[in-house]
Symmetry: C2
Subunit: 378 residues, 2 copies
């Protein structure tokens, strides 16, 4: 059986794989060398379920890199420009990892158990190699490994009702603040439940600790979710682009740095702690960034989500930027994109152009979040 991916031994099976096949997954991608479903029905149908009801995603490919040891806190801080000095136990933080040039290695959600134990819940690149390499310097007493643990994502406004049902209104879970997590047991399985997820909706990420628990967790959530119209789904590109959320390797690479993303909260160059890339990023700050991450409004027929770095040209045909992710937005009623523009054009209100799907399109630069401007244009 081929469902759009070749099942070579090199590609690991997600612990939820068999259940997602039963539930009608029609296509897969690979993520951290593991299968990840990327479609059951259509992105639009799944989007509607996500914003109105509740959806369950197999995101086991978001592997965990576990850092334990007496220097774990110092080590994790050394990996990121984000200032972690106020990072509390049992909370998550989103952070960029940077290389010696300030380039982006990954953008994990970091789970802090305590000062001696962290998980990096990673995007699609081998962060374990990076961490092991950095640790070789010998300056940190840490052990780095990849546990079996991996999440499903339960996203959508009715995820809270579903969680109330399956936990019997357990306050330990129901009182979780945004980005807080708790170790618990549901359906007889040891799990971690976090109020997090790669969507703009209310939701949870639920981590199994042992791969063999994957099938049971998936099936129990799908069964309990029927009354809330749960559907099997996958990371929804419409929703995340509308929210301006980054997809690493799509929107960010080693050639991009956190300063270009215009998210000052995630890049504190003046903090006391040292981190990889600090000097390089200070130099970039002093010299001024060359390009900046932004939103785009794109004219013409509906855009499908696809592989591209689409050049954005000014009226003289000069390359002014490029689109890294684009899609049709039902919410804003137009095509939107994420990408980069030359820094001196960041406030430009010119009409640019882009060639895509054999169509010449008009492109406007829209500051993020999209809602600040596009909603007024409706």
């Amino acid at each position: 059986m081929s469902k759009g991916i070749i099942y070579t031994p090199r590609i690991r099976k997600s612990p939820f794989f068999e259940e997602t096949i039963k539930d009608g997954a029609t296509n897969f991608t690979t993520y951290n060398h593991m299968t990840m479903p990327v479609g059951y029905t259509t992105p639009e149908q799944e989007y509607n379920s996500l914003i109105n009801d509740v959806t369950l995603w197999d995101v086991a490919g978001e592997r965990q890199v576990e850092v334990v040891g007496e220097d774990a806190a110092k080590f994790v801080q050394y990996l990121t420009p984000r200032n972690l000095s106020t990072f509390k136990d049992s909370f998550c933080r989103y952070a960029f990892l940077t290389d010696e040039n300030g380039g982006i290695i990954n953008d994990p959600l970091i789970l802090k158990f305590n000062d001696q134990k962290f998980w990096l819940s990673i995007a699609d690149s081998d962060v374990i190699y990076w961490c092991k390499g950095v640790a070789l310097s010998g300056n940190f007493k840490v052990k780095i490994s990849e546990p079996e643990a991996c999440p499903v994502s339960l996203q959508g406004p009715k995820s809270k009702d579903l969680m109330a049902k399956v936990t019997n209104n357990d306050p330990k879970v129901m009182d979780l603040k945004y980005y807080q997590f708790v170790e618990t047991n549901l359906f007889g399985l040891d799990l971690i439940v976090a109020r997090s997820g790669w969507s703009n909706q209310f939701g949870y990420e639920i981590y199994i600790l042992r791969e063999e628990d994957g099938g049971a967790l998936w099936r129990n959530l799908m069964d309990a979710g029927k009354e809330f119209k749960i559907v099997p789904s996958c990371p929804n590109q419409i929703d995340r682009i509308e929210a301006g959320m980054i997809s690493h390797l799509g929107d960010t690479t080693l050639n991009d740095n956190p300063l270009e993303l215009n998210l000052p909260k995630f890049c504190d160059l003046d903090q006391e702690a040292d981190f990889v890339g600090k000097e390089a990023l200070k130099k970039i700050r002093d010299e001024g960034i060359k390009k900046q991450f932004t939103g785009f409004k794109i004219s013409g027929k509906k855009i499908g989500y696809n592989m591209a770095s689409i050049p954005v040209l000014d009226k003289n045909g000069s390359r002014s930027g490029y689109i890294t992710s684009g899609i049709y937005s039902p919410n804003f009623g137009c095509n939107i994109g994420l990408g980069y523009v030359n820094i001196d054009l960041i406030h430009s209100e010119e009409i640019y152009s882009a060639q895509h799907d054999e169509e010449q399109r008009e492109v406007e630069i829209v500051p993020l979040p999209f809602s600040s401007r596009l909603e007024k244009m409706k």
Copy 2:
């Protein structure tokens, strides 16, 4: 258009992608975050062309990690247990990279330009992160990057005739020894031609230096190869398993070490030079390895190549090893596999069993190479 992979911006397009689509690629995998075709006709048809004629593979996903700088030679030696002290300029060497525990990070083909410049032509894992992390220690004056350079593979007995035609019998290319490479120009393109490739047949790997040259190289080789019955193809699992060649992440992972592979040439623990994992591997050697890589003969109906770690059981039902790659071999006329057995069973002539494709199969342990024993059994 979907041909078995979702074209998200996160997945890079191979520079040969458009040409492989034109030539009928029907399915793709991802390799180092890049598309790689894995089928045009059937594995058997492609195998026949590979062993009789000539085949052209898009293996751009085998990215290059470039190491340059005054300590490049010392740095590359530090990455691998293979003794590189006699490594000559303009030659390639296959080597394992090991982590601090002796676990396998990757198994690149290393190209040595000179003491200050190397390429690691890598299997499917982010070696660039590992190298950058190791270099952070500050003990090496090196710069690490991923150039645009990437190979096609031209494999099969008639590859030499084709190369004679397109180089007009240039001795610089025609006199290349096994694993030697040369910088040259063909079809007006700057290229590197190496006598190497992931097959058991005569062949070349030809590297473009700029992504934009991909289409022209592919098309020129396909056109010139018509008289030699060239077919577009892909890394052939039948041929490589018959040859006992390793597929990293399929057959080897961080949980396996080079000593278990029984390839002493690639693991010199007594060399003078230091390398990552040396102490760990010495300890493993002293304590004795627990499992060893081997071949298997497998009974029953033909096995297709697929995702699996298939347990091998003894007659009491105890797990004695596992199959990491299996396939039907036209050459040996039976199913064969690669994998690991408990070290004390390595010379066992017992009949073991494995459950696969709803069939109970008999499994025999066959030392590698397969030809040493299976050909006698025909």
